[in-house]
Amino acid sequence: MITLKLDGREVRAKKGQTILEVATENGIRIPTLCYLEGLSPKGTCRVCMVEIANRNGKLVPACVTPVEEGLEVITRSERLTRLRRTIVEMLFLERNHICAFCVSNGHCELQDLAVELGMDHVTFPYRYPGLAMDLSHDDFGLDHNRCVVCGRCVRACSEVEGAFTWGFTGRGIDTAVATDLGIPWGLSETCTSCGKCVQACPTGALFERGMATAAQVKSPEIIREVTERRPRVF
């Protein structure tokens, strides 16, 4: 067992656990976005950033940082809220997130984060990129305008469904999710139409076709349920 401090409180943890896991076990909420229980953590969105007090306040993503003996972790501070808020703000202004008529309005993790972190306006100009939708699939739709490139769909598709339909294309700010090397989703031969990507998606970027404003309610917890019930082969 390892002993560490979370917000000044001494807690015990198993070797190999991440800071996020230990915090969750101890009832401390750290906001997350790209993290989803049941998928491998990637630490790409940086929303779960915490401070390590005894390493000069070093910032580390809680979802991928393993606990160490004697760590003094701060999960809540003005600085962290400011940084997290700025990250969420960047996500909002990078693409076109128009909550008013989004299918996920009221059921969106990005929207919830903005509320939680007090991001009620942007301080940088919006980019307004001209992004397309892909409605070629019979059951589902993709709207790049609402995508935060968290990669949850990509991981759900490869790690849970094993279809490897979803991947990334482009680099840097131009990174986008893509199906089968960039062909329209409806033409994909690898997609099994299982819908796990849609359930894993935290925003309205992936949705069920025919959904109207605020009608898309998702169940991302099914990813954990599926993986928990699955017998471990290796």
Binding site: A100, F101, L135
Partner: protein, 474 residues
Amino acid sequence: MERVKRIPVTRIEGHGLITIKLGADGEVEEARFHVTEVRGFEHFCRGRTVWEMPGITARVCGICPVSHLLCSAKAGDAILAAKVPEAAHKLRRLMNLGQIIQSHALSFFHLSGADLFLGWDEDPRIRNVFGLMERYPELARDGIALRAFGQRVIELLGGRRIHPAWAVPGGVEYPLDEERREEIKEGLPGARRIIERTISLFEENLPRWREEIETFGDFPSLFMSLVAEDGTWEHYAGTIRFVDAEGKVIADRLDPARYFEFIAEAVEPWSFLKFPYYREYGYPEGIYRVGPLARLNTCERMGTPLADEVLSRFRSLSGGKAATSSFLYHYARLIEILGCIERIERLIDDPDLLSPRVRADAGVNELEGVGVHEAPRGTLFHHYRVDEDGMIQWANLIISTGHNNMAMNRTVQQIAARYLRGGDLSEGLLNRLEGGIRAYDPCLSCSVHAAGRMPLVVKLIGPDGTVIRERSLR
């Protein structure tokens, strides 16, 4: 010397400008009503899905989001080309009746009540809804209660009063339940008492407004609206009918989806709002009006007993011909509120309202669809073209206020000619100019699908083109 006059007009939805140009003799040469906003909904809807369109276009307006919502859902119905369950049609009708009640109540009591009952020459600091509350607290209370009833109908059906996203292509998201139905029912008797006493009050005062009736846009024009199969007043389905100033039907049973065959739109460089006209008569002879006044002129009956009684009194004013004064929009609005309440009374016990089958699920079966219905301010058209996946390629919205554009211009001209003397923009003139426009209850933000909220400005322009005076009213 300062040569132009601007007067902003308030208590309308949106932002506009009136200019009055004087001739060399100091008399009115020309008066125009300009709409000075642009929004571009038709452009930025492109690339979105047809299922999102009700939610997107509802945002055109905060007063009549329901109108756009329902019209867009109907255009979507045409694209799905599936049979929409009867229950969904009835529920949408119910919401539209609530919408007409709340919007008309807002126009009559909150926006125009002060002009009508405090008088055109009253101090503008008093001539507003607060002044009305002080002088006629019961009237103001009635207005608020009646509007609240209409909004509550919308809220009970769609989950919220403003911008509900409940109607969708193929039907509605969810049905009504017993509890919410009862609440609507409970509100009906109170709403009916309010509108009955308001109609009495209006009719008692009618003789006082003889001058306004003659000058607030009293001119011959065509009138257009939807009417039911048997010629009864209609707000949700039916076909298009045009009548002329004599009350004669000049075109009937026109397929609303082929609106472009009988309506054309002219463009003037001085306004962002287009000028629709009846195609066969050309521009500007094809001037027509829409909205409450038009609907009462085109229909043969309201179809409900009390409203039909009042309609016959309304018709006796014009001796069997069409009512041609835009001042009578106010009267028409009250009659429509009464008719809507009676219709809700009739509809509310229909077992279909509680049916769980309220949405037809279908893919894209047609690449083009037109939705038409009667918004509070008049006939509303949504016309979409989509690709095979249901993404909007092109959209055209013809908004109720837009149809009245020519009529509003003519009204401004008539009032200016009657009340402007010697280049003096008196309070009385300005108030009446405002009141003339307000009779149409125009929604300028809607009509150009425009953003922002600004007052109406009036400009007085001398013969040499310079601005003499410019004013905005409070």
